[in-house]
Symmetry: C2
């Protein structure tokens, strides 16, 4: 779709790829260089670096180049954003269920003339 997505979109898109998740998982255990990340993945270094770029743009990974080696580590910001988005949805959804429960509990079958529940209209 759009390469110019909002931040949260970049995060989810980045995590949607198995290889990139594998990279994040590896980096959760500690920093590593690009070529070291490539080893167990069975793909070319160039491909790994492309993934790293995407992960970096999603604030999921931070990389720093010292000498000729680029060292990568996890960057909490991206995961934080994803967690927040999920938490927000969950809050909204639970709040709605609570309201619904309240209505059903407080008012026993009120003379409801509507043909559909209001949340469908």
């Amino acid at each position: 779709m759009d390469t110019n997505q909002p931040a949260i979109g970049r995060v989810f898109h980045a995590l949607g790829d198995a290889t990139r998740r594998a990279i994040v998982e590896k980096l959760s255990e500690g920093p590593a260089s690009a070529s070291r990340l490539a080893e167990p993945l069975g793909i070319s270094l160039a491909a790994v670096v492309q993934h790293l770029q995407i992960l970096e743009e999603a604030s999921l990974v931070r990389t720093e180049k010292l000498g000729r080696v680029r060292t990568c580590s996890v960057h909490p910001a991206g995961l934080q954003m994803a967690a927040q988005w999920i938490a927000d949805r969950r809050t909204l959804w639970e709040r709605r269920l609570d309201r619904l429960a309240d209505l059903l509990a407080e008012s026993p079958p009120p003379e409801d003339e509507t043909h559909e529940p209001e949340w469908l209209g």
Copy 2:
């Protein structure tokens, strides 16, 4: 990549699309029919249904057909899985930082002959 991804992959991939996130956001406020979801999105009904299929396969949305209308609602399982994966990464990563802090605190500069930190080798 692979269309036959593990569950967590399907979840993140599903949430990587702005339109699908919009659908989940809408459904967080309450159930809705497919055509009702399509209205504000500015795309065809067919496209929306395709998105719904993906969301359903990712356990992010549940749909039920009554009469000729398919009613959709959020399904917590998908969000739960995503939240769990994130939490797991975060735990691992924090645990590692703690260990590192412990090492630095307990042992003041020990005669370290290595040229690189062990986690890079």
